[in-house]
């Protein structure tokens, strides 16, 4: 038994997420990761935007900051830059991070500021009742794509890499142990790190797309999430419909707050 309760704000439970929502599994994986890393809870700050996923902040017993829709990364930039000693983790949704928040996302990646961003990707705007999101697959139904989505989805992870992130991974809630590892690695990484987590929304996405049951959604993850190494060995045909999971990018590059510190240090010498 893992003792989650010492890490959560028990008084706020049961949490607001629907039955079978994957978000709780992400939260648990995160808790195990910080436990494993031995991060002091007073030195961890969770920053979130608005959405079901962003409600995570209310449940973890660390410093938590639930901000405005799409702006979590901007707020987090302020927290981290002002006090680089803090571990700053952003929890956000596909809509929060890549629709309204897309600009902050790519710029934080460019700057390579040491934040860990967990994107709960459920392919939908859950909180507002199921509108199409930038990750909704083509053809999928949402309340604002009642005839099937005509827009192509973002590759969230690819975008982060192109923008300059130093660590990018993809995990899913079926493979929760692996998810914990990815989150651990992401937090350890000095630099902008993203973990895109596939986390099902039975209510707003599943119901509209013939996957109303949480179990069906979990099975779908089980069957379609393929570890990078295995994926690489697969043929083009075998890959179709499959999703690569694991560490996608892991590179070394100068980190923003560190670079700024060097600038300040050099001034002290000059001055």
């Amino acid at each position: 038994m893992f003792d989650y309760l010492t890490y959560v704000r028990e008084g706020n439970f049961p949490h607001i997420w629907c039955s079978g929502c994957g978000h709780g599994i992400v939260l648990k994986s995160f808790i195990r990761a910080i436990d494993k890393l031995g991060i002091h809870r007073d030195e961890a700050v969770m920053v979130s935007g608005i959405g079901c996923s962003s409600r995570t902040a209310g449940y973890v017993d660390i410093n938590t900051l639930h901000t405005t829709h799409g702006r979590a990364i901007a707020f987090a930039t302020g927290v981290k830059f002002a006090n680089p000693k803090l571990h700053v983790i952003v929890v956000t949704g596909d809509g929060d991070a890549t629709a309204i928040g897309g600009n902050h996302y790519i710029h934080a990646a460019r700057r390579n500021i040491d934040l860990t961003v967990l994107i709960y990707n459920n392919y939908i705007y859950g909180m507002t009742g199921g509108q199409v999101s930038p990750t909704t697959p083509r053809g999928a139904r949402a309340s604002t794509s009642p005839f099937g989505n005509i827009e192509p989805p973002f590759n969230i992870s690819g975008l982060a890499s192109a923008a300059g992130a130093s660590f990018v991974a993809r995990g899913d809630v079926y493979h929760a142990q692996k998810l914990e590892k990815l989150i651990t690695q992401a937090i350890q990484k000095k630099g902008f790190s993203v973990v895109e987590v596939l986390s099902p929304c039975p209510t707003a996405y599943g119901r509209r797309n013939r996957m109303a049951s949480p179990v069906t959604l979990m099975e779908w993850l089980r069957d379609n999430c393929i570890p990078v190494k295995k994926y690489e060995k697969m043929s083009e045909e075998e890959r179709s419909g499959k999703i690569r999971t694991g560490v996608l990018i892991d590179i070394e590059k100068p980190e923003f707050t560190e670079e700024y510190r060097k600038l300040v240090d050099s001034m002290q010498v000059r001055g």
């Binding site: 049961p14 997420w17 039955s19 079978g20 648990k28 949480p214």
Partner: protein, 69 residues
């Protein structure tokens, strides 16, 4: 069968917090030993003796509602 099994093998203690359990059936579906069942919209332990303490139910419960010791 008894041979080779540690004599001290204890039964798992599986606790369900029914206040928190939302009855998603994830634990039931993915228990490798079919230990769990649904009853009145909540999970219940049906075949405790089969439990291998693999912890998968605990791991995947989105609601912090089931623990295995």
């Amino acid at each position: 069968m008894a041979e080779g099994q540690p004599a001290s093998k204890e039964l798992a203690i599986i606790r369900v917090n029914v206040e928190w359990c939302k009855g998603c059936e994830i634990c039931v579906a993915f228990c490798p030993k079919d230990v769990l069942e649904m009853e009145g919209g909540k999970v219940t332990v049906a075949r405790l003796e089969e439990c291998t303490k693999c912890m998968l139910c605990e791991l995947r419960c989105p609601d912090f509602a089931i623990t295995v010791e």
